[in-house]
Symmetry: D2
Subunit: 381 residues, 4 copies
C-alpha cells in the first residue's frame, strides 16, 4: 500500500505529540505502513504558517475545510478543541477520508452517534485517541488476563485523577463550559473507562456520584471577574461488567498531587494486576500459584519479551515515554487503515464511552443505577 | 486510680494480641493507668487452663459468666467469635463492668443498639477494637487534616481488601454464616469505615454493590461436602460525608494478593494524604504550597515528633508493628476508663458503623442510595 | 529450667526497649524459657528509683556493682554508654553471670578480646544486641540464601546510614569522643556488618575510606563554645568474603534524610534480595527461574509461613515493629542461656566486628587493603 | 546555520535509537539546528541497503570509509562495536568531520588520548553518547545541587548494574574479549561515572575491586565449546572527589534482577537526592529545612517546570522514555556543533572516564589507591 497522507487539524500540544509520533514511526516500526505529513491546519494564518515547519508537515492552511477536502489527504487527524470534533469529522467523512480523532469524540453521545452512523455508512475507518490502551504495559496486562494467569476477573478499581484544576484560582477556560467541552472530569479523563473496557470488557450498569467542588473561577486569572463552572470536577461510579466482575471508577481534575493518576487494580481469582501510569513502563503482578511464603506482587519492567517494546529498545528496563505510546497508536492507525488489522477504539467504541459517561450523569441525577441497554461489544485487539 | 483488673474472654489470636499489649503497656506508657491481667476465660477447661500462663493472666475459667460476674474484674474484654459479643456484653453490663469488645460489635445494628442502650443506661464505659485508628500514623493524618495542611477535604478513597478467602478451596467456616458472623467482608473489614469516620467525619448517604463470588465452599476442606456461603465476598460503596466530601469505600476478602490492604487517599483542596497499612509506619503527604517544580508526595516516616511514637523509640524510622497499635489501644482503654479522656470508638460509634453496613446492604438490594437518618456525631479524640 | 532473673544496668531508651521485650516475651513466645525482671540499676538514685516501676523491675539500685553481684541475678543486661561496657561486663563475668550487652561491645577490639577471653574462661554465655539480625525478615533472607534460591552469592551492597548528626549545629556529645564512644559511625552503625556476616559469611579483607565531615560542634548547642569531633561521620569500605563474594558497606551518621537506612542488596547467580529496614516487614526477592517476561522483584510481606512471625500475628501483612525484633532477641537470649540453642552474635562475634572496624580504620590510614588474619567463623543460627 | 548532514556508521540497535532521535528532533525542538539523515553505513551490503529505508537515511554504503569521506557529511556518528571507534573516528577527524561517538570511546585511555589529540588538533567538535546525563531528571538534579538546595555534597553512592550476563550459560560474545571490548562491566556501564562527574565533579583518587565471576562461557550457546572470559563481570570502587566528597561506584553485568540499575544517592549537608533510571521520570528529594515532623523524601515527577520536559509534553507526569533522552542528546549535538553551546561530554571528557576505569583496574591489581594525576575539569553544561 502507498504511504498514508495525513492532514492534521490543530497544531497545539496534542498536534505536536501526533507529529512527533508520525516522524518516529517509520524508524521505530520500519516494516509498517508509511505515513506522509501532508498538510496541517490551524485557526489562524500565523499559527498555521509556523505549524508546517515546526511539526514537519509539507503544507499548511488556516482553513480546516481545505484539509478535509484536500485530494492528497487520506486521513484527517483531528486535534482541535472538543467542540469542533463533530463538525470536522462529519466534513471529513463526507469527503471519504479516514478519521483519527482525539477523545472525547464529541460533546454528547447523540453527537457521537451521528458521527458513528456517518462513518459506518461511508465505510471509512476511524480511530479515537485513547492512547493509554496503546501502552505496551496495557498490552502486557491484556496478555496476562487473556492467558488466564490471574484467573477470572472479579474486581476492577480504576482511577484517572489529576490536579490541573485543583487550585481554586486556576482561571476559567473552555474546558469548564458544557458548550465547548461537554462533561468535565468524566470526559477529560475517560481514559480509565477505555482501560476498563479494554481489559475487563463491556460495562452493563453504572451508578455514580458527580460533584463540582469549585463553583466559580476567575476569568483570565483576574479576581474581579468570575465565571460559573458548568461541568464536574470529580466523579466516581460503580460498574457491573458483562462478565460478572464489579468495579469502581473514579475521575478528578482536582486530585491535589496526582499528575497522571491513571491507575488500576484488577483482581482475579488466581492473581492480580496493579498499574500506575506515572510509572508507565512497569506493572505489578501477583499470582497465587507461587510457593508458600514466596508470594508477593512482582514488579515487571517492560522488556523485549513484551508487546511492541523491542521496537524501542533491545534491552529491558529502558523505559518508554508518552510519545512512544503515541507512536504505537499511529502504528495501529497506519496498519488499521491499510487493512492489516482492526482499529480500536473506533468511533463506535468512543460512542460507547460517551454513553457510559451519560449514564453516570443520569444515575447521579436520579440517584439510581442505570443500565446500558446495548452493552458495548468487547474490544478487539 | 487503682489498677484496672481485666477479665478476658477468648484466648485465641486476638486474645493473645490483647494480652501482649497489656503486658507491654506499663513499660511503654509508664505514666498511664495500670492494668492487671486478672482472669481469662475460654470455651473449654483445656483451653482456659493453658490460657492463664500463656497469656499471663492470674486465674482462669471455662465459664465466661464467671468472668463477667467476678467481683475482682473491672473491665470485661470480649475476644470471642462475633455471635457471642452481644450476650457476653449484656451480661457484663448487667454486672456493671466496663466493656472492651472486638469488632464487629454484633451481628446486626439492632443487636448493637440494644448493647448501646444497655451500656448507656448502666453508665458503664465501652471501647470497640477498631485498632487501626489507633495507629500513630492515623493520629498524624488527623493532625495534618485538622491543622488545615491539606485544605478542605473533598474526596476519600478507602479500601480494606485482603485475600484470606481468595482460594475457592478455602474451607467453609463460621465466618461465612450469617448466624455466626453477620455480614461478610463488610463486617470483617469495616476498619476502613472507622478510618473514614475518624478522618473525614460522619457519612450521610451510601449506595453500594455487594457480591458473593464463590457461592459454595468445601466443608473442612473435604471436596465431598460443600456448604453455601451466606455473606458477601466483596463490596464497595459510594459515600457522601456531612462535610460535603464524597468518597468510595471498598472491602474484599478475595482480593488476591492483598494481605493487609487497608489504604486511603484523602484529597483536600491544598494537599493530599495516602496511607497503606502494609507500610503502617509511613504516610505520604502532598502539599500544594511547595515551590514550583519541587512539589511531590513526601514519605513521612514515623518519628518522635509524631503522636505516641516516642513511647516506643527515641529515634525516627524504627517502625511500629501491629502489637504496638494494640498497645496504644489499651492505653486509650485504660485512660478512658479511668476518666482521663473520652473513649472512641465506643459502642455507639460501632453501632453507627453497623448501620452504615446495613445501609450499604439495603442500597444494594434496592439499587438506590440510602440516607442515614441520624448521621453519626463526629468522632472525638 | 527456672526463670532467668535479669539485672538490667541502664534505664534509658535502650533499657526501656529491653524491658518492653521482657514483658512481652512470655505472651509472645509462651513456650520459651521465662524471665524475671529482677533488678534495675542506673547512675543516680533519682533515675534508678523511677526505673523500677517504669520498666517493671522488682528492685532498683544506683550502684551497678550491686546488680552484678546480686545473687538473685542470672543475667546482667548492659545498656550503659559504650565506655562502661567493658568494666561492667568483666565484673559480671567475675561473678559468674551471663551477659547480654548492647553493641558495640567495647571501645576497641583489644578491650573486646579481654571480654571474650574472660567470658570464655568463665564458661558464661553472652549475647550482643545486634538486633537487626533478629528481624524475622533477616531470618527469611537467610532461609532463602541457604536454600539456594538465589544461587551462589556474588555481591553484597550494604548501608547503615542515618542523619542524627547531619545538622552541623547538632550539639557535641560523648558519642563524638573516642574515649567514650570509640569509633563514630562505624561503631554506632555496625549493624550492617553483622548483617553481612550473618547472611554472606566471614569477611577476609577490607579496604575503606573514613571521613569526619563536620569537625567541630557546639557544646550544649551553644555557639560560643565548640568542641572537636574525634571520630568519623561517614565511612565506606570494600570487603572480600571467605566464600568468594565481594561487597561494599557504608555507614553514615550525616546521611541527610535517612532515618533507619539499614539496607542490603545481595546478588546471587540465580536471584537477588533487597531489604530496607525502614520497611522492616518486607523483603524484595528476584529469582531468575521465572517464565520469560514474568521476571521481576517480588515484594514478600512477612506472614505466618515465615520465621517467628506467627508468634505475633496469625495473618500476613500485619507488620512487625522495632520492639518485636527485640522480643525475638530476648527470646534467643532466654533460649540460649537455658541451653536450648547457641547464642549468636556472642562476645566473640562482636569482637570480630570490632576487628573489622579497626581493619577499616587501618586500611584508611595506610591507604591499602587489610587482611583479617583470623577470619571469623560463620555465624551459627 | 544550514542543516547538519549526518553520516551514521552502524545500523544496529544503537544506530536505530540515534535515527529515531534524529527524526523526532525537529518536531520536539523546532527552534534548534536542523539535521539531515544523509548516509548510513554498515558492514555488509545486505545490512546497509536495508538500513537506509529502515532508519530513514537518504543513502547507504557498505564501506564506512565512504561515510567519513563523503563531502556531503558534516557529522560522523559512530555506532559500531567498540573496537572500531578509534579507527573510524581518526579517519573522520582526518576528513575534518565532527564526530558523535558511542561510549566507551575506545579500548584504552591511550587510544582515547590519541583521539582527543587528533580532534583538538583538527579543531573539530566531538560528543560521546553518555546519554543518561541528558535525562531531564539529571538536569533537574544538577539544578538542585547547583542551587544549593541540598547544601554541600558530602557523599555519592552510584551503581550501574544490569544482568545481561547473569546467566552462566549466556553465550560468549565480543563483549567478553579485551581486544574487541576493552574492559567489561566497567566500560559497558561507565554511565555511572559520567553521572558522578556531571553531578559531583572531578574524581581525584580511586581504589577498587574487580572480579570475573563466570570464567568461561559457551560459544554460540553450545556446551561443547567454551571460551575464556577476558574482562570483568563486576567491579566497585571508592572515589574521592575534588570538592571533598567521597563515594562508592559499582558496576555489574551479572546483577541478577537489575535491568537498568543506574542509580545514585547524593547526600548533602542540607538535603539528599535519590534517582533510579528504571523510573527515569522521577527523582526523590529530601530537604532538611521542612517543618519538624514533615520531613521526608519527596517524589518529584518530571513536569513542564523542569529542564527540557516541556518540549515533550505540556502536562506533568507523562513520563519520558529512553528515546526522548537520546533526542535531548542529539539536540545538544546539533546545538553544540552549530556553536550555540559547549558540547559535553566530549572526547576529552570520555578520555577522563577511560582513565578512571584504568585507575580502578590498576588499583585492583596493586591493591592500593591510585591518584588521577590530572584531575578532570568539572564538566560544563
Amino acid at each position: 500500500m502507498d504511504a498514508l497522507k495525513i492532514g492534521l487539524i490543530g497544531s497545539g500540544f496534542m498536534g505536536k505529540a501526533h507529529a512527533i509520533a508520525y516522524h518516529a514511526l517509520p524508524v521505530v516500526f520500519p516494516s509498517t505502513t508509511k505515513v506522509v505529513c501532508e498538510i496541517v491546519g490551524d485557526a489562524t494564518e500565523e499559527l498555521a504558517r509556523h505549524a508546517a515547519p515546526n511539526l514537519g508537515f509539507n503544507r499548511w492552511t488556516s482553513e480546516w475545510r481545505e484539509v478535509v477536502s484536500d485530494p492528497r489527504v487520506d486521513v484527517v487527524d483531528i486535534c482541535t478543541p472538543n467542540y469542533m470534533h463533530k463538525e470536522v469529522a462529519l466534513a471529513a467523512i463526507a469527503e471519504g477520508k479516514h478519521v483519527y480523532c482525539e477523545k472525547p469524540l464529541s460533546l454528547s453521545s447523540q453527537d457521537s452517534l451521528e458521527m458513528v452512523d456517518a462513518a459506518e455508512a461511508a465505510g471509512i475507518k476511524t480511530l479515537v485517541g485513547f492512547n493509554y490502551v496503546k501502552n505496551p504495559t496495557t498490552a502486557l496486562a491484556k496478555e496476562i488476563i487473556e492467558g488466564g494467569e490471574i484467573g477470572k476477573v472479579v474486581h476492577f478499581r480504576g482511577t484517572h485523577v489529576e490536579d490541573y484544576f485543583a487550585d481554586p484560582m486556576a482561571p476559567f477556560t473552555w474546558r469548564l463550559q458544557r458548550g465547548y467541552a461537554g462533561s468535565g472530569a468524566l470526559g477529560d479523563l475517560c481514559h480509565i473507562i477505555s482501560m476498563a473496557l479494554h481489559l475487563v470488557g463491556p460495562i452493563t450498569d453504572v451508578c455514580g456520584d458527580v460533584q463540582t467542588v469549585i463553583g466559580d473561577r476567575p476569568v483570565h486569572g483576574a479576581i474581579e471577574e468570575w465565571a460559573r463552572v458548568e461541568n464536574e470536577d470529580q466523579a466516581h461510579f460503580m460498574a457491573r461488567f458483562a462478565n460478572g466482575a464489579i468495579g469502581t471508577l473514579e475521575v478528578s481534575r482536582i486530585a491535589t498531587g496526582r499528575k497522571m493518576g491513571l491507575t488500576y487494580e484488577i483482581t482475579g481469582t488466581r492473581g492480580s494486576l496493579y498499574f500506575d501510569q506515572e510509572r508507565m513502563s512497569e506493572i505489578k503482578l501477583y499470582t497465587a500459584n507461587e510457593a508458600a511464603g514466596r508470594q508477593g506482587f512482582k514488579t515487571l519492567l517492560l522488556g523485549p519479551q513484551h508487546p511492541d517494546y523491542a521496537a524501542f529498545s533491545h534491552a529491558p528496563g529502558r523505559c518508554l515515554g508518552y510519545i512512544d505510546m503515541k507512536t504505537v497508536e499511529v502504528r495501529d492507525l497506519a496498519e488499521g487503515i491499510s487493512g492489516l488489522k482492526p482499529l480500536w477504539p473506533d468511533f463506535r467504541a468512543a460512542w460507547g464511552i460517551d454513553r457510559i459517561i451519560e449514564a453516570v450523569l443520569l444515575s447521579h441525577e436520579q440517584r439510581r443505577w442505570v443500565s446500558l441497554e446495548f452493552p458495548e461489544a468487547a474490544p478487539e485487539g
